[in-house]
């Protein structure tokens, strides 16, 4: 599953909780190819809460 497929899955899932894919997306989002997505998830205000898996939040 690539990043696009993952987000398509999220967009089509009402609970938006697809835990089994968390690890896959974590590795996708930290690669250089996806640096723009990672930057979007990184916000200068640290109080912002993104409900992404821990691995991603650490990187962001």
């Amino acid at each position: 599953m690539d990043a696009l497929e993952y987000f398509e899955l999220l967009a089509n899932n009402i609970s938006q909780n697809i835990e089994k894919e968390d690890k896959a997306i974590s590795s996708l989002l930290v690669t250089n190819n996806n640096h723009l997505i990672r930057d979007n998830l990184k916000h200068p205000n640290t109080s912002r809460e993104y409900h992404f898996p821990d691995e991603v939040r650490v990187v962001c």
Partner: protein, 267 residues
Amino acid sequence: MRLGLSVNHKNTVYLIGSGIKSISHLTVEAQACIKQADKVLYLVNEPIIEQWIVKYSNHCSSLEDLYFSANERSEKYQLISDKIVSDSLSTKALTVVFYGHPTVFAEPGLKAIKVLDDLNVNTVVLPAISAEDCLFADLRIDPGENGCYSVEASDLLIYDKNLIKDSDCIIWQVGSVGNIQSPTYEVNNIGINLLIAKLEEYYPKEYIVYIYEAAMYPSTTAYIQKCKIKELGDNTLTPLSTLYIPAIKRNPPNLEIIRKLGLQDKF
């Protein structure tokens, strides 16, 4: 031409928006316009929606290079508008995608549509989800309750516009106040201080306002920060920030108007 929405043989331009939250905000008709057009031009806010367009369109091209080829926003918009007009003349069905709503704070699309309407090209403009729509949902606001005044931050200052205290007020691009070039994370402090001074002409310094940014990805949440007007400059503002100011008071009903409307027993 694959798109079945056109009823004659003239070229057609579909101006659409991708919404704010990637993929989630694409309407069914917007998806059809992307999938069935001969060509798609796009200027979007993040890479996933770009990947979606690349995957599902027959042929597409980004407007980003044009956007970044000029310094001032007005120049960028003119270049993009010219590109849309130019491509529309050689494309049977052309879809142009902007993020958000295609006519809300998206000047080049509307500019092009006005030119195309004079060039005998069919134009279709579809509604989409804007940041303001997201704000209404996330802050649980019904703009029908107090009315809602919407204004761009720099315009508010430069044209000395009035705020309406008995309506909710939404100030767009508050993090870009005073900036006419590409959006930047560097806030113009002079602009913010002028904005605070403007707001304090209407509201108490202690009045609570909301800094808002809509969620950009499914499974993420909006950014909502409450602060006092006088502390606006101490908070993180970005090019995506919108300021929401709740109505401060509601005018009492006009009894003379109520009498003329025959509604005396309702108030």
